[in-house]
């Protein structure tokens, strides 16, 4: 679930009336843009900055003077002189009824609220903020889906509001169209094209569908076992390619349980991640990690030793080479995987401590 950004006015403006007040807007903007700038609490489910508006969830309806029906603000364009109500009785009544309908078809927790899994559930927030209308009988529609054959993405049809954001992201942003709306009527759900597991589709495991899902119907499988309330979040930079995506590392009990992107707008990755950044963190807590210093024994094998001894053996070994073959018989190979500070220190070690400029990083390109 990602936050929508507040649009900034850049060009010439027009004026309209919003909840009785005069506000400015720009040609081409939607009513939702204007509402956000004015700080109105207009609930949304299917709106997202990175994809084109679809206007399908009806959550963001507002009353526009002269229009017989309520209009979805996320898709309705501004016009000079419009008179718009975001919280009229009609809007409120409609919203509560709509929320009741969504609830009847949604997985609920002990408090009869939409379930929360740590990715955020907008539906839950809207119910808490705006209340519901009449209690409707649960629908319990049987929904077929088959994308579980993949290690990363869990889909829970009971929490899906069919906003289609995941599909639109997959089409419009990732541009691989691995998933689609499938089935009819109450059985409609999100599925892969031929009901295959995600692994056997064009899916690139970017996890964008998880990131845009407003209800957490799409979740990271590795996080399912974690207790999200105890997650700590640390902002960092991805350690794979040279794009430098910003990541939020979610940890629990000293383990990374999921990786998300900071919201779109301010970072170089604009809210997106690829399979490596989002999911390839298993190596961090892998059992094969080196945990103690090792030195080569007489038997030819590597054996654990203390830090003190390892440093001593390394220092003596390198110095012995230098004494025997000269300063420039040593080479220092640095890593484009390590930090800037570490690369700085490695060249300092090479030049200042050992006296040679034979120092280079592994990938000079």
């Amino acid at each position: 679930m990602s936050d929508l950004t507040v649009p900034i006015l850049t060009g010439p403006t027009l004026t309209l009336t919003l909840d009785g007040e005069q506000v400015h807007a720009q040609d081409g903007e939607t009513l939702l843009d204007v509402c956000r700038r004015a700080g109105k609490d207009v609930p949304t489910l299917c709106a997202e900055d990175r994809v084109d508006p679809m206007g399908s969830c009806r959550m963001c309806l507002v009353e526009v003077e002269g229009q017989r029906r309520l209009q979805p603000s996320c898709a309705f364009k501004v016009q000079a002189g419009q008179v718009v109500q975001t919280d009229s009785d009609k809007v409120q009544r409609h919203r509560q009824l709509l929320l009741s309908m969504y609830l009847a078809d949604h997985e609920l927790d002990e408090d009869d609220l939409p379930r929360e899994r740590g990715t955020g559930n907008l539906l839950r927030q809207h119910v808490l903020n705006h209340g519901t209308g009449p209690d409707l009988p649960p629908i319990n529609a049987p929904r077929e889906y088959r994308m579980e054959n993949n290690p990363y993405i869990h889909f829970d049809p009971g929490a899906c509001v069919l906003c289609n954001l995941c599909v639109r992201y997959c089409d419009e942003v990732e541009a691989v169209s691995a998933i689609t709306l499938a089935g009819r009527g109450a059985k409609t759900t999100i599925a892969t094209a031929d009901q295959k597991g995600l692994l056997d589709t064009t899916c690139e495991m970017c996890g964008g569908c998880i990131a845009v899902c407003p209800t957490g119907a799409m979740t990271e499988k590795p996080s399912l076992a974690s207790n999200f309330q105890e997650e700590k979040v640390v902002r960092s930079t991805c350690n794979f390619c040279g794009v430098g995506c910003q990541v939020n590392l979610h940890t629990q009990d000293n383990k990374i349980v999921r990786v998300t992107s900071p919201p779109p707008g301010e970072t170089v990755n604009d809210g997106n991640l690829c399979v490596k950044g989002r999911f390839s963190m298993e190596f961090v807590q892998h059992q094969d990690r080196l945990t103690e210093p090792l030195i080569r024994g007489k038997d030819g094998g590597l054996h654990p030793t203390s830090w003190e001894n390892a440093l001593k053996v390394a220092a003596e070994g390198l110095m012995a080479v230098r004494q025997k073959h000269g300063t420039d018989s040593l080479g220092f190979i640095s890593s484009s995987r390590c930090t800037g500070e570490e690369n700085y220190l490695l060249q300092k070690l090479s030049r200042a401590a050992f006296g040679t400029n034979n120092c280079h990083q592994c990938a000079a390109t």
């Binding site: 961090v284 210093p293 190979i333 570490e342």
Partner: protein, 538 residues
């Protein structure tokens, strides 16, 4: 290049461009997030020109796709320049004001007609014309490239060729244009910036410049050598000879350097090897001492990305067992040999020392990065400076930029009857470099469990090979086993393999002949033969 090797423009500028010329970069797999920006630009109406021997995914959505023969980039670029100058499409004002050597360049490409290039590259002459015209006449046009350009024995010429195109069309110093190398690894840029180089201290200050030497001698309190050192490729070749001991931090050179057999022989000729890493790997087999290091999620510091953006890395979890952050180990080793490296309490202090010595990033500090959530892009000379989004907006940094003439010469190793196929190598979306990290990721393992070789249907059929069948791939240097992957993306006569699998290390095949200037090895082109396993066993 124009005074510093880095993306001249920024990643977010891509979405505003009108033309992208992508050459030697399988962007969707190697840099998926940049590819997303390209798709977004495309959606907004930008044109896309792709040049790559493999029909990569981007080629499917390109307005113009040029499937050139591997290793013939110089011919293609020369012909594009030829078209631009003969049709008068160059930017006269920019050329006069900001460049030198244009006359020589014009003379050097006078024979490089698109028809001549077609004979070498196999790209239709008309397509070369169209590409040149589109690129030259579009105001906002950017070039994007990566290892497909540099990992050749003529990699430097390739880069000069691209730079010439940028300069003659004046696509420099403006938004949404420029010359943009996409870095393969998270901190290639940062490692260069920090001085992990045989010729430069931190901040691109030459070791043989007496002023720089004096400055660093004063700061570090010791005498320093003014003799440039060996670069990695040279060190690799001299292992066992001039080079007798190695200290290796965070890099599996035995897996990732070309011509594995020769690297292994060299490693065996060393007297002493220290490796500092997070896993045992091919290189630790040769180590006398192995230091366990912390990974990126277990330490603080900065990475610098492709668009010169310095961003924070923050500790999220504790390192396992006794593993320590690399920076601490380096300090402790320096102290163990008697050099009084300061007891830095935190990497921010190391950064401060580096920034103070390097005018390019003097204005950057960990403190400022807390407030600048999208990072700071160098040059950033003082603490008030906002950083530099687009470089060279006042013309090339080093006054006038010289054109560099280039001349096509064939790759070092071409196919013959014994080794009839051209092998190129690269990365895939799911795996990353030596695979130590991604081969422990369940998704990558499920998608791509073993080494494979992409081959065109015709070449496969000719050899009676089926999809999925195991084959023996051999070059003059070695042999590996891989599974056949018949792919519509491959050109006839060409095959492609990824570099991520230690048990079937593609670098047993690759050529270690280096570019004469950078010594970067020719990972991208060598000659191989492919035989069915059973047949080969006979």
């Amino acid at each position: 290049m124009f005074g510093a090797g880095a993306m001249t423009n920024s990643i977010p500028e891509i979405r505003g461009t009108d033309l992208m010329f992508v050459i030697g970069s399988n962007t969707t797999e190697a840099h998926p997030i940049i590819a997303m920006e390209m798709k977004r630009a495309k959606k907004n109406g930008a044109k896309l020109i792709v040049a790559d021997p493999r029909r990569i995914w981007l080629a499917d959505i390109a307005d113009l796709y040029m499937q050139l023969k591997p290793g013939t980039d110089v011919a293609l670029l020369s012909a594009m320049m030829h078209v631009i100058v003969t049709e008068g499409l160059h930017d006269r004002e920019f050329v006069d004001k900001h460049t030198t050597g244009f006359e020589d360049l014009v003379a050097s490409v006078s024979e490089a007609t698109p028809e001549w290039a077609e004979g070498i590259t196999e790209v239709p002459a008309e397509d070369i014309r169209t590409a040149a015209r589109l690129y030259a006449t579009t105001e906002k046009a950017g070039i994007y490239y990566t290892l497909g350009i540099t990992e050749h024995s003529h990699g430097t010429d390739n880069v000069y060729g691209l730079a010439n195109l940028v300069l003659m069309t004046g696509h420099l110093g403006k938004e949404n244009c420029g010359m943009n190398p996409l870095r393969g690894q998270n901190n290639v840029q940062g490692a260069n910036d920090a001085g992990a180089s045989p010729i430069y201290y931190a901040g691109y200050q030459r070791v043989d410049d007496p002023v720089a030497q004096a400055k660093f001698e004063a700061a570090w309190g010791t005498e320093l050598s003014p003799t440039p050192g060996m670069n990695l490729n040279v060190m690799m070749k001299h292992m066992g000879g001039l080079i007798r001991g190695l200290f290796i931090m965070g890099e599996d050179i035995v897996l990732s350097e070309p011509n594995t057999e020769r690297v292994e022989a060299g490693m065996n000729g060393l007297d002493f090897v220290v490796v500092q890493d997070i896993f045992l790997n091919e290189t630790t087999r040769f180590a006398d001492v192995v230091f366990p290091a912390a990974c990126f999620a277990e330490k603080d510091g900065v990475f610098t990305n492709s668009d010169r953006r310095v961003q924070r890395v923050r500790k999220a979890v504790d390192a396992p067992g006794q593993a320590r952050p690399d920076w601490q180990i380096l300090v402790q080793l320096a102290q163990a040999v008697g050099y009084p490296m300061p007891d830095y309490q935190h990497p921010s202090e190391v950064y401060a020392e580096m920034a103070q010595l390097s005018p390019k990033f003097s204005g950057i500090s960990h403190e400022r990065l807390e407030d600048n959530v999208s990072g700071l892009q160098w040059p950033c000379p003082d603490p008030e400076h906002p950083g530099t989004v687009t470089m060279h907006s006042d013309g090339p940094i080093i006054g006038k930029a010289p054109f560099q003439t280039i001349a096509y010469r064939p790759s070092e190793e071409l196919p013959n009857s014994d080794f009839p196929l051209l092998l190129s190598t690269g990365r895939t979306l799911y795996h990353y470099n030596s695979g130590t990290q991604t081969r422990r990721a369940s998704g990558a393992v499920a998608k791509q469990p073993e080494n494979f070789i992409e081959i065109s249907r015709r070449d496969a059929r000719k050899r009676g090979l089926d999809d999925g069948q195991l084959v023996r791939v051999s070059s003059r240097r070695g042999t590996v086993i891989a599974a056949i992957n018949i792919s519509p993306r491959m050109k006839r006569g060409c095959v492609w393999m990824p570099l991520h699998f230690p048990e079937a290390n593609t670098n047993r095949l690759t050529n270690d002949v280096g570019d004469p200037v950078t010594q970067t090895a020719e990972f991208k082109v060598c000659a191989v033969r492919v035989q069915a396993l059973v047949q080969a066993a006979k």
